[in-house]
Homo-oligomer: 220 residues x 2
């Protein structure tokens, strides 16, 4: 079964929205997430339904089928492997990879991805800390919570970011809150939800609720 680039993008968006814990994925949500109009989404949902990658009932909503899940995870696998390539091999900054990976993920060649995976030494996570599905679509996800949800004196390690926008990533670079950093919550301000943390046992840092909400931590 072959999907077009547009179909792959829609399916990926649907997968991501489903993962975000939302009970059901709405036409408007999809439109917003891929920056298109709801009318276009309706059209595409009908098509994806016909191709049986989603189960679709007009006006009622949709559900990804096992087939759709497999295909979505394949695309995500490709996207994340390319991101690792761009950062590890071509020395892209982690805020520069998304756009290019969006293109590379649609290259069709099973051999290419197998070889790329081996070349990169079978990475388990992409530069933003998101897990890379294996060839069968299995994802080894780590239990993790938002930094904002941690309690005072709790320790952990930054393992991923929710927001991958260049602006956010560049901010993290600037303050030294990179993936892998060990942190400890020193204080939390009730009033605005901001947090004070110790990074790598040497540097203290204040961050707003907004920032802390977009940093994912593996607590220890």
């Amino acid at each position: 079964m072959e999907l077009t680039t547009a179909e792959e993008n829609y399916l990926k968006a649907i997968y991501h929205l489903s993962e975000e814990g939302k009970k059901s994925v709405s036409t408007n949500d999809i439109a917003a997430s891929i920056q298109t109009k709801p009318a276009s989404v309706s059209d595409m949902l009908r098509k994806l339904g016909e191709k049986e990658v989603i189960q679709y009932r007009k006006y009622y909503g949709l559900q990804i089928t096992p087939l759709g899940m497999r295909l979505a995870l394949q695309t995500i696998r490709k996207h994340r492997l390319w991101e690792v390539f761009l950062v590890d091999k071509l020395h892209f900054a982690w805020d520069e990879v998304h756009e290019v990976a969006e293109q590379l993920e649609h290259i069709q060649s099973t051999l290419l991805i197998e070889r790329l995976d081996a070349y990169l030494n079978y990475p388990k996570f992409d530069p933003h800390g998101d897990p890379i599905p294996d060839a069968f679509g299995d994802v080894r996800s780590r239990p993790r919570i938002a930094l904002q949800e941690m309690g005072i004196d709790q320790s952990g390690q930054i393992v991923a970011v929710k927001d991958s926008s260049p602006a956010f990533l560049r901010y993290l670079d600037k303050v030294g809150a990179y993936i892998g950093a060990r942190i400890k919550v020193l204080d939390k301000v009730e009033f605005d939800g901001s947090v004070e943390i110790l990074v790598d046992q040497k540097k203290t840092l204040f961050m707003s609720k907004d920032v802390a909400n977009n940093i994912l931590v593996l607590t220890s």
Copy 2:
């Protein structure tokens, strides 16, 4: 100026046909070379003319403009760099790279190509011996002749192949006529144009006129 994938493919085909020494490139030639119908070519020529990458007069023919030349060479540069990547880094066989490189060449990112070029150590030739244009579109082509045109006792080095079809490349692999091999013409058969050569001073090889015509040699 931005070209679509289809436009890039047409322009590339036109460039290659122009290079083949043909006085003028015909609609039918283009159609044959990219496996489409002449009607589709006519349509596209009109469009490429409007975009001023070719100069086009209906029924009379076309000529690539300097702009078109630049864009075609950019695409060819990308294609050949990706081929080097696939062979050198991902260990593709030289007969497996074309199809994937056809897709990769359309990825849009100047940074990506600059970085890839550096990562591959600024290669000057692709796995088939074809020269890789630099970022400005300059091509350093080597003077070379078909093996078929060499005289008896003449020596040289295989530097490229004209035909890059998997069947031909696999044949060359089998007989050990790889790029870089030093050869000497031992004998030529008038009757059928076949050639007997010495490869790397240790192995003699018979090859048909057809094969010898598709191997390019730098004579010494």
